[in-house]
């Protein structure tokens, strides 16, 4: 087996098949598994560099102009603008944006005549609306994430980025003894040569 294959693959184990369905088309491209539950580790340096703070899957499209499908989505902190942004992918013919406004609604922006609800946020909202507290909700729905949790996670990323961006103050050079006339003249000669080299 090639080195590339071994280093890039993730093995699925303990597969339990409950049913095999007749379906119209792949919800995502052929042979791609849909991961509805996943564990996000503490944001790594690599993740921060990629600016991806969290991800998950949208609900299947309803009332769509195209067949029902889902998208994988990711939310991230735009380091240039400081805004929470998001995108979805997995479908070739259209895409959706996630804006702070759509995130607050728990869904994507409209594209191709439809929107998608963000599964994890939706799950949280449904449970909270049903009067369950977060602890109880987490116990019953493993993939729950609330807006507050998302924002806290993004705040953490932002704080980490800010810390990384801090410049280490450079201490001032210590004052030395005054230059003699000869030393001053030699220094001016060097400066003149450097300026001449820079101009040429």
């Amino acid at each position: 087996m090639s080195r590339f294959t071994r280093s890039s693959k993730r093995q699925l184990t303990g597969l339990t098949i409950e049913e095999i369905s007749f379906v119209d088309q792949p919800a995502v491209p052929k042979a791609k598994f849909l991961i509805a539950k996943r564990k996000e580790e503490e944001p790594s340096m690599e993740a921060i560099e990629k600016r991806t703070a969290m991800n998950g899957y949208t609900s299947s499209a309803t009332g769509a102009t195209t067949a029902a499908h889902i998208h994988e989505y990711a939310c991230y902190l735009n380091r240039e603008t400081g805004q929470i942004e998001g995108y979805v992918y997995g479908i070739g013919d259209h895409t959706h944006r996630i804006t702070p406004e759509s995130l607050a609604r728990g869904e994507t922006e409209e594209s191709d005549g439809h929107t998608h609800e963000l599964m994890t946020v939706k799950a949280a909202r449904l449970l909270l609306a049903a009067g369950q507290n977060i602890a109880a909700a987490k116990a019953t729905v493993p993939h729950i994430i609330t807006l507050d949790m998302l924002k806290a996670g993004l705040d953490q990323v932002q704080a980490t980025v800010a810390a990384l961006d801090k410049r280490i103050p450079v201490p001032p050079m210590p004052e030395g003894p005054a230059l003699t006339a000869d030393e001053e003249a030699a220094l001016n000669t060097i400066r003149a040569r450097l300026e001449g080299a820079a101009r040429s």
């Binding site: 993730r10 042979a31 996943r38 996000e40």
Partner: protein, 140 residues
């Protein structure tokens, strides 16, 4: 210390996988699809071994054999009539299938579903279930 951003409390993953129909009868009363292919890297870099496919297939045959529609409805009028683990590379309808591939065949007694298959609306099968993920280490 940074706070952990935790989305789930367990390691199980919900998984579905699309498998196009590789063969069907003219009246769509029978369809065949390769539902799992060993060591085929999907777009997320996940693979499943031949041993894992065989075990999962046997478990499904023993415990379930259920067929459904769009993972939303169990169908009583589709019957699993074939479950084969390929012991050698095989060609079906011009589609090469690797050794260890799991093929399933259903008889379809649901007239509405037959029409959907015939007109190309229904194009494949999709397994629905649960799995865990183990990431291989980079070889030294």
């Amino acid at each position: 210390m940074t706070r952990q951003l935790e989305l789930v409390s367990e390691s199980k993953l919900q998984a579905t996988r699309f498998a196009p129909i590789v063969k069907r009868s003219e009246d769509a009363g029978f369809i065949l699809a390769a539902v799992l292919v060993p060591d085929e890297i999907d777009l997320q870099g996940d693979v499943i071994s031949a041993e894992e496919i065989e075990r999962a297939a046997y478990d499904y045959m023993e415990a379930s054999q259920r067929g459904g529609y769009m993972h939303k409805q169990v169908l009583q009028d589709v019957v699993l009539v074939e479950s084969t683990i390929l012991r050698a590379e095989t060609m079906i309808n011009g589609v090469p299938l690797a050794k260890g591939t799991w093929l399933v065949g259903f008889r379809v007694y649901n007239e509405e579903l037959r029409e959907l298959i015939k007109d190309g609306t229904i194009t494949g099968l999709s397994i629905g279930g649960w799995s865990s993920r183990k990431t291989d280490k980079e070889p030294s």
